[in-house]
């Protein structure tokens, strides 16, 4: 059902693409100054890090703009994911909203002329200086809607990255040290396997398996590979390192019992709840779990970066966009600027989120501080490598199918690489043709 809806949404968006460009000239409230209402939408829950911080931002905005009414509505992720194109192509849309980063979402709408070019504002207000290059990747889109270069169409406010979460209690009980290299990591996992414990939780039916593969591949990768794979600068050879190394190592980990074969059919939620229940010593997954783990886990746990990796799966979070149909653009820019201020960014950090321009000194909790320091370290050395399913539309399902085959050992690494190479190449060819 979920898939069906996605497909339907894609079809709708495609239909929009055909007629959208002409239709969007309807109400051109270009820079309408003197607007007295700011219509603001986002889809973070009220008690999440972003929800708390943005509530504060709204409060600051109201103080600085007396006489302006802020009409905030919390939306369903699903609704924005599916309908953003239709909503902002009408006069009923918001003046500023949170939207999903990426080629298929913000990229597509920007290429249809539905999003406001924020380049001038980014320079004027210093967003281009505040955000590191790998964070800017998801903010800028070419005229074809491909991220990485071109005009600014969005402003990220928070970040996310993939790391290793581990159960400290289990590590102590089995006498395992926190690994700092990939070798130490395999040794640690050997210890667990020797004691009859499956060391690494993952989920073959959703994103975690693909991200684990990508982390392994990134162990042998450099920035040039990421540019080739994600931004199509050069063709990618799937049967050479780093991708070959990633698939081979993944298969080896399965063979050695680091990963349970039952994980082939597991969902991300299963992986997460197994970790919360204290059944798995480690999982490799993203910072989006952090807040939930913090509130729900009762044992002692912590995180470390994937050992030895300079590059890590991760990116900016979702972005603020200003629809072309916005009737209060100047107010929208002001609001975005407020969300970038230190006090708002610190609130994201203090509530278990990852601020994009966070100052670790302002974070009170030691574990939270480490989360942000790690992110800042990755971001500073240009180490955000995005996600494996980003390059081409529909690639998520290809990766899921591929790595399920690897987890249940029905396919060899070579076969899996073949299976994921073709849709990638076809997809890239399609994008280049347009």
């Amino acid at each position: 059902m979920q898939r069906l809806r996605r497909v339907a949404a894609a079809a709708v968006v495609a239909a929009l693409a055909a007629t959208g460009v002409t239709a969007c000239g309807d109400d051109d409230g270009e820079g309408a100054s003197g607007a007295k209402v700011l219509k603001l939408w986002h889809y973070e829950s009220a008690n999440s890090a972003m929800g708390v911080a943005w509530d504060k931002a709204i409060e600051i905005f109201k103080q600085e703009h007396p006489g302006v009414e802020v009409r905030f509505e919390r939306k369903a992720f699903e609704q924005i994911q599916q309908n953003a194109g239709m909503i902002i192509n009408s006069s009923e849309g918001p003046d500023v909203m949170e939207y999903n980063k990426g080629n298929a979402t913000a990229g597509l709408l920007s290429s249809q002329g539905l999003l406001t070019d924020l380049t001038a504002q980014a320079t004027k207000r210093g967003w281009d200086k505040a955000l590191s290059p790998s964070l800017q990747t998801t903010a800028r889109y070419s005229d074809k809607g491909v991220m990485g270069s071109g005009n600014w169409y969005g402003v990220p406010n928070y970040g996310e990255y993939v790391m290793v979460y581990y159960n400290k209690d289990l590590f102590t009980r089995y006498g395992v040290q926190v690994p700092t290299t990939l070798d130490e990591m395999t040794k640690a996992m050997d210890t667990f396997v020797g004691k009859g414990v499956t060391p690494l939780g993952t989920a073959g039916a959703e994103y975690p398996a693909g991200q684990l593969f990508y982390e392994l591949a990134l162990a042998r990768a450099d920035r040039a590979f990421v540019d080739n794979y994600q931004l199509y600068k050069n063709p990618v050879d799937f049967h050479a390192d780093p991708l070959k190394y990633g698939a081979d190592t993944f298969a080896e980990w399965v063979r050695k019992g680091y990963v349970s074969k039952n994980a082939a059919s597991a969902k991300a939620e299963d992986m997460g709840t197994a970790f919360i229940a204290g059944k798995t010593p480690m999982i490799v997954s993203g910072s989006w779990w952090y807040g939930r783990f913090k509130s729900e886990i009762k044992f002692d746990w912590d995180t470390f970066l994937f050992p030895g990796n300079k590059l890590n799966a991760g990116s900016s979070g979702n972005i603020w966009v200003v629809p072309t149909s916005s009737k209060a653009k100047d107010l929208a820019y002001d609001f975005i600027d407020i969300t970038m201020r230190p006090e708002v960014q610190a609130l994201i950090g203090n509530n278990g989120g990852v601020p994009v321009v966070g100052d670790p000194a302002k974070i009170s909790d030691a574990k939270d501080r480490k989360l942000i320091e790690n992110f800042n370290a990755i971001s500073a050395q240009d180490g955000l490598a995005f996600y494996p399913d980003w390059p081409v539309p529909g690639y998520y399902d290809v990766l899921v199918a591929g790595f399920q085959g690897l987890i249940n050992q029905s396919k060899s690494p070579d076969q899996v690489l073949d299976a994921i190479a073709k849709p990638y190449q076809d997809g890239v060819a399609e994008i280049k043709r347009n």
Binding site: A11, A15, N83, M86, I87, E92, A268, I276, G278, W289
Partner: protein
């Protein structure tokens, strides 16, 4: 076919309705098992609606709640402003149910009793509206609604579902009215009743049980609709209950206990509605049986 070919089995003892022995018990057991199997998901929903998120994550969905946790229900109620959604859903589903039954009745009267030329094709065309996946209708509907200034209004959804539901209603009622006793209509006509009077005084009373079943079905179907309300109603002030429920599902995270609590709250009105009208439903289904 098979019946005519086999020789009539006169020798076999005709079983007495009250003495079927073991088979009756087996059937009873099977029906009970099926009924219980249908209730299992509801039981799980109930179980998890009163569990704290931490409890759910630690002990899984099958465990007994360690405490009676009602914060999920309260969070859902406040977060989505449930009374507003409830009113929207009731308004939309209620209007659609009434309007669609009326439209179906008019259509079916013309097609079934009036014997319009080519009515089979017309009915086929109506059915098409029901068979088309809503996904393919969405973009045109969006476009028309926007042009007509109805985008983001409850009226748009009411109109759309009145048409979609009455398509099915027309099909059903037209076949029912196709077999409506002609003599009754002729008698009424001889007594000097016009078309309008016949509809209200002769046809309607006879159809009442069927119409009330349709009303209940239309209400519940419209209540559960997701895609079209999701696309058409973008303001929190106009949204329906199923759309509100979807707002609990995040990008990468889900909150199972709150979702369960929300489902429970969202289900209650539909169940209440069903229980209230359950008697008419049962009567309607057997209405044709006792001729």
């Amino acid at each position: 076919m098979a019946v005519t070919l086999t020789p009539p089995a006169r020798a076999r003892r005709v079983p007495d309705r009250h003495h079927r022995g073991v088979t009756r018990w087996i059937v009873l057991a099977l029906v009970t098992a099926a009924a219980l199997a249908m209730l299992v998901p509801f039981a799980f929903m109930l179980l998890n609606a009163f569990k704290s998120p931490g409890d759910y994550s630690t002990n899984g969905p099958l465990s007994w709640p360690s405490e009676f946790y009602t914060k999920g229900l309260r969070t859902y109620w406040e977060q989505v402003d449930f009374p507003v959604k409830l009113w929207n859903s009731t308004l939309i589903a209620g209007s659609v149910a009434v309007l669609a039954v009326l439209v179906s009745l008019f259509n079916a009267y013309a097609l079934g009793v009036g014997r319009v030329r080519g009515r089979l094709w017309i009915i086929g065309l109506f059915l098409l509206a029901n068979m088309l996946p809503q996904e393919s209708l969405i973009y045109p509907l969006y476009h028309f609604a926007k042009e007509a200034g109805l985008y983001n209004t409850r009226l748009a959804v009411i109109i759309i579902f009145t048409v979609i539901q009455s398509a099915f209603g027309t099909y059903l009622l037209a076949s029912v009215l196709g077999t409506f006793p002609r003599t009754l209509l002729e008698a009424a006509a001889l007594d000097g009743a016009g078309k309008w009077r016949i509809l209200w005084r002769v046809v309607l009373p006879n159809l009442r049980p069927t119409l009330s079943v349709l009303l209940v079905f239309f209400f519940i179907w419209t209540w559960n609709e997701f895609l079209i309300p999701l696309v058409m109603l973008i303001d929190n002030q106009t949204q329906t209950v199923p759309v509100a429920l979807a707002s609990l599902q995040g990008d990468r995270l889900m909150d199972a206990p709150t979702t369960n609590a929300g489902s429970l709250l969202s289900l209650v009105p539909a169940i209440l509605f069903f229980l209230i009208f359950q008697r008419t439903l049962a009567r309607g289904i057997t209405a044709g049986a006792e001729k």
